[in-house]
């Protein structure tokens, strides 16, 4: 039984990373209906910028993390201004393809630096000894993941409920035309969504970096792992992203814990999120919290 709780806790920790990555993804989709295939690259760039600041410029870790988060936010902003702004009103497939192209461009930028083909890790800044409680162990990087997710969730909650900008973002997500007609700047909202997405992506990247070290391939892979999470939660729901992310994380750990023994070679945790994704699409196409589209002829 203690195993079960250990899997659960580990799953929540991993799921928090997915949730953190998914937050930005959902934010972009919610405001501008863009599925961002370059999200993994934003995650990787955030993580590498933080590393460069710590290891090369010898900035204190907290300052480096903060700077990297802001820098990636700025990158998100610039990407939106330069590339996506021109595509407003274009068919969905064009917009998706642009993000695929962007992913490759950002990859190329990383290959310009030693980060494209190397492995790195942050200098240890968290306590090395894990926390032990009733036979369950949690490491500090995992706590960091949970903490970051909770923090962003609170921030987002406040932002969307209370601040003018947040409310205008919700208005745009709800109905672009109507929002424009009451004077909301849709452009500003789009750019802001990308900037915030950059911020959350960088946070996710830094958490992954502390959990498992920095490798371009594995950082980018987080961008892919986000898809099942957001489908489960619903593409346009922020609480959905968190619930979806954590559910997928827990499912992966339970699969690895209880299913792998029945499958020769194991590795069910790699495929279970996608099986879930298909099943969700079958039975609850708009996810747990997603908005059902109502269409009229």
């Amino acid at each position: 039984m203690s195993d079960f709780f250990q899997f659960l806790i580990s799953g929540i920790a991993v799921g928090s990373i997915y949730a953190l990555a998914a937050l930005g993804f959902v934010l972009i989709y919610k405001s501008s209906r863009v599925i961002n295939f370059a999200h993994g690259q934003l995650i990787a760039i955030g993580a590498f910028v933080a590393y460069a600041l710590v290891a090369w410029l010898k900035l204190p870790i907290a300052l480096a993390l903060l700077t990297a988060v802001l820098a990636t936010g700025l990158l998100g902003f610039v990407v939106e201004r330069v590339f996506l702004k021109r595509l407003v009103g274009q068919p969905i497939i064009s917009v998706i393809m642009v993000t695929i192209g962007l992913a490759s461009v950002l990859d190329g930028l990383m290959y310009l630096t030693p980060f494209g083909s190397g492995n790195f890790s942050y200098p240890a800044f968290l306590p090395q000894e894990p926390l032990r409680l009733a036979g369950i162990t949690v490491s500090y990087p995992q706590l960091l993941a949970v903490g970051f997710t909770a923090l962003f969730l609170l921030l987002f909650g406040w932002f969307f409920q209370r601040s003018t900008l947040g409310i205008s973002m919700r208005a745009v997500a709800d109905d672009q035309m109507a929002a424009m007609s009451v004077g909301v700047s849709v452009e500003k909202v789009f750019a802001l969504a990308w900037a915030v997405a950059g911020v959350t992506a960088a946070s996710a990247g830094m958490v992954v970096g502390t959990v498992s070290g920095l490798n371009q391939d594995s950082l980018i892979a987080i961008g892919l792992a986000v898809f099942p999470a957001v489908i489960l939660g619903g593409l346009d729901s922020i609480p959905g992203a968190v619930v979806g992310g954590i559910t997928i994380g827990v499912l992966q750990n339970l699969a690895a814990g209880y299913l792998n023994r029945f499958v020769p070679g194991g590795g069910t945790e790699l495929v279970i999120p996608f099986v879930v994704l298909l099943v969700v699409l079958w039975f609850k196409p708009h996810g747990l919290f997603g908005t059902e589209e109502i269409e009229r002829v």
């Binding site: 990859d107 594995s218 194991g266």
Partner: protein, 399 residues
């Protein structure tokens, strides 16, 4: 007028003495998946080529190195190879990925082009179509069997789990490992595939429940680093000892896993970066001269140098013995690289009874010696003398 005559004369003289050109071609993953291995590997080949031309290692010949990025995609690898066959007529192909090499086997056999891949998948030198493929060091299977022998020496009847990469590369040694374990009296309690999960609690708990005392990895550094970290978090690092084949270790693993790497055992044929052998001195010199940074600190850089060095040495011998270098003479020179003619560049450990690099027609692995290294104080330190796997040939070829 006089001057121009002189110039023409000099030009003609120059042409008469013109160096002949010989080509080698490499295609590998400089970008794309596995570029943390492919990057240093390709960089080393480039650097060694430059060095070979500067030092005129092949008398009378200029070496033309075609180093291309196939982005880990087979069609690119295939095109790069066939383009070279059409134009540069290379004497040797330095291949890379397991998948691409397996797919290219029959083509390589048909055009009789000697190939030295970065992948050490045993299927590459097993029939059919295996005549022209040569592995610079021992195969993954041999490394894993050697690790099992090491375990058997340490603890009789130990329980071992295999954790492998979910690809042909990872699965290659599983079958031989099972056979070897049976011979050694070890029991393989589980074989799990792992391509890099953010959390390996479940994996480790399951292996613990099955009583695994050792985990043998055939993987890349990333997933192994994660498993090591999680084992430390769960307090299993004392209980379960972890070891792995060539691509699991090296400075990459230490950089990724940090303290958690302490005590990890690694089977490697290569000398470490700190050791004082001619090969490693060259490694340090070339990496510094070409500003290779982190790429130059990788054992994959050593591996690239070794592949290029074998190629250049065989070309030199082909030129000396046959007066021309092409795929045929290269092959003859390469399979003659044994006995007193073995090649000792100082990249790979040698054992008491076998030289560093030797090939024959039927023995297609070069350096069979390997050591087990352990991470101590953030560095891989050899803990065994160089040895060859006593069992591998028996379990694999049944002799």
């Amino acid at each position: 007028m006089k001057r121009s005559m002189l110039l023409i004369g000099l030009t003609l003289l120059g042409l008469a003495q013109a160096q002949k050109t010989v080509s080698l071609v490499h295609s590998g993953a400089i970008t794309g998946p596995t570029s943390d291995v492919g990057g240093p590997y390709a960089a080393a080949i480039e650097d060694y080529c430059k060095y070979a031309n500067e030092q005129k290692l092949i008398p009378g010949y200029t070496l033309n190195c075609i180093v291309r990025d196939d982005q880990y995609q087979n069609p690119n690898a295939q095109r790069i190879l066939e383009e070279a066959l059409d134009r540069a007529k290379p004497a040797v192909y330095l291949g890379y990925a397991t998948g691409a090499m397996l797919a290219l086997k029959s083509l390589i056999q048909e055009v009789k082009l000697p190939a030295i891949p970065a992948s050490a998948h045993i299927g590459l030198i097993d029939p059919p179509d295996n005549t022209y493929i040569f592995l610079p060091t021992s195969s993954y299977s041999e490394q894993v069997v050697a690790l099992l022998e090491h375990i058997a020496r340490e603890k009789k009847g130990a329980k071992v789990a295999l954790v492998v990469h979910p690809s042909a590369f990872g699965r290659a040694p599983v079958e031989d490992a099972r056979k070897a374990a049976a011979q050694l009296g070890l029991s393989i309690v589980d074989v799990q595939e792992n391509g890099g999960s953010l959390d390996n609690t479940a994996l480790l708990r399951n292996l613990e429940q099955k009583g695994a005392e050792y985990i043998v990895h055939q993987n890349v550094a990333g997933p192994v680093a994660n498993i090591l970290k999680d084992a430390k978090r769960l307090g299993l690092d004392k209980k379960i000892k972890q070891l792995g084949a060539i691509y699991t270790g090296g400075n990459d693993l230490i950089r990724l896993a940090g303290d958690a790497a302490e005590g990890y055992l690694w089977a490697s044929s290569y000398y470490t970066l700190e050791e004082d052998t001619p090969g490693m001195r060259l490694h340090r010199e070339l990496a510094a001269k070409n500003n290779r940074g982190t790429l130059g600190q990788s054992h994959n850089y050593t591996a690239g140098l070794l592949a290029a060095a074998i190629a250049v040495e065989a070309m030199k011998r082909a030129a000396q013995r046959f007066g021309r270098i092409d795929n045929v003479t290269f092959y003859d020179a390469l399979v003659g690289m044994n006995g007193p003619n073995a090649f000792n560049p100082g990249f790979v450990v040698k054992t008491a009874n076998s030289p560093e690099i030797d090939f024959t027609k039927s023995e297609q692995t070069g350096g069979e010696g390997l050591r087990v290294l352990e991470v101590k104080g953030g560095k891989f330190v050899p803990i065994t003398q160089p040895f060859t796997s006593a069992l591998f040939r028996k379990v694999h070829y049944g002799k």
